[in-house]
């Protein structure tokens, strides 16, 4: 398991691994927003939490099809499936590696991007909290989608179509948490809901992912 995690992280940082792709995409989305809605600081402050969450979600989506597709193409997945590693563990480790290379950089960079959108000072803590709590769910749900579409040529687009609806609850409560935080309101409800969704999918989805992966490998 550890070997798989370290290998995935190592691959992400080598040429063509795609590390930094998500964060660069996030940056561009955030920079484009003032161009499209105008540089009015009041309006930007208002939409900042929602835009930041949407940007993070799309940036995360960008790298999802790499989670399993590359391993399927070069035959690694067949060999891993016949190895002592349980597939449930394999998909969990894959999701973890995706989160560490995509989710964590987004969380770290979000405050900087918040400045670009004129996010109010009290909002930073809750923006980071909401992303830190929500992005693991994005990676785990994304791995499920990757397992569903593994082996399908040009599966990336199909993957996005399948996964985006599943991201809705995370997006609603994540953005709501960030918005309430920015406006200084009570954050308990969205915080608990977001945490519940994240821990729920981490606990349950790897079993579903492993099951569909096993079928796709036949």
């Amino acid at each position: 398991m550890k070997a798989l995690l370290f290998r995935d992280l190592k691959l992400a940082f080598r040429a063509g691994g795609g590390f930094g792709l998500g964060i660069a995409f996030f940056l561009i989305v955030v920079i484009l927003v003032p161009f499209s809605v105008g540089p009015e600081s009041g309006l930007l402050t208002k939409i900042a939490p929602g835009v930041l969450w949407l940007g993070a979600l799309l940036a995360c989506l960008l790298s999802l099809d790499r989670i399993l597709a590359l391993d399927w193409e070069d035959g690694t997945l067949d060999l891993v499936a016949t190895s002592p590693l349980p597939l449930e563990g394999v998909v969990s480790v894959k999701a973890l590696a995706h989160w560490l290379t995509t989710g964590v950089p987004l969380v770290v960079a979000a405050p900087v991007f918040g400045v670009l959108l004129n996010l109010p000072p009290q909002g930073f803590v809750w923006l980071v909290t909401s992303l830190a709590l929500g992005t693991p769910a994005l990676s785990v749900i994304g791995t499920f989608g990757a397992a569903l579409t593994v082996g399908i040529k040009r599966g990336g687009l199909l993957l996005s179509l399948l996964i985006l609806p599943l991201y809705v609850p995370t997006l609603i409560f994540g953005a709501e948490l960030a918005r309430r935080g920015a406006e200084g309101q009570d954050v308990a409800t969205p915080l608990l809901m977001l945490a519940g969704i994240t821990f729920g999918v981490i606990a349950l989805l790897p079993f579903a992912s492993a099951l569909v992966l096993r079928m796709n490998l036949r």
Partner: protein, 206 residues
Amino acid sequence: MILRVKDVSVARGGVAVLEGLSFEINPGQALIVKGPNGVGKTTLLRTVAGLQPPFKGAVEAPEEAVAYAAHSDGLKTMLSVEENLRFWADVFGQSDIEEAIQAFDLFDLRNRLAGSLSAGQKRRLGLARLLVTGRPIWVLDEPTVSLDVASVALFADAVRAHLADGGSALLATHIDLGLDVTVLDVGPFRAKQGAAPISGYDEAFL
């Protein structure tokens, strides 16, 4: 560590390809599967490796005893030869990769990226992976593709050493490896042609 295949039928894409196959491989033995293209050798090997369930019959193999090698080697092009082997050794809970590097003459290549190797060198690395699994039953699908004569000899030596060590092997190959082994022609076990796809075939949902 006996591998037993009992009256097995295998299906590919919902159509039975081979029927009524039975064989047994004891430690120290190897079996070569032969047959025309498309007859179902790969499907049979994937079934034996446990990647798909047999359509009928049973494959009896000890838990976690089978090392499978397919057409693709499962190599990461951006990792070096040594890193690739080290990864598989870790996955299978082994620590020694030197023996595998020696056996397939990879010493000079150990720090090269796998992506920069030739097809034959990649294949050698893919086969070296078998040695680091430490598993007794090898299931190999066309192991000698793109190997030159010297490398085929290296591979035959590796199989011979494996068998002498009490291991066993099931190979699908067209090349004469110079091994003293049983050859099974699966041609006669071909499923009745023209048979309609198995009705109610819902493997994908089970």
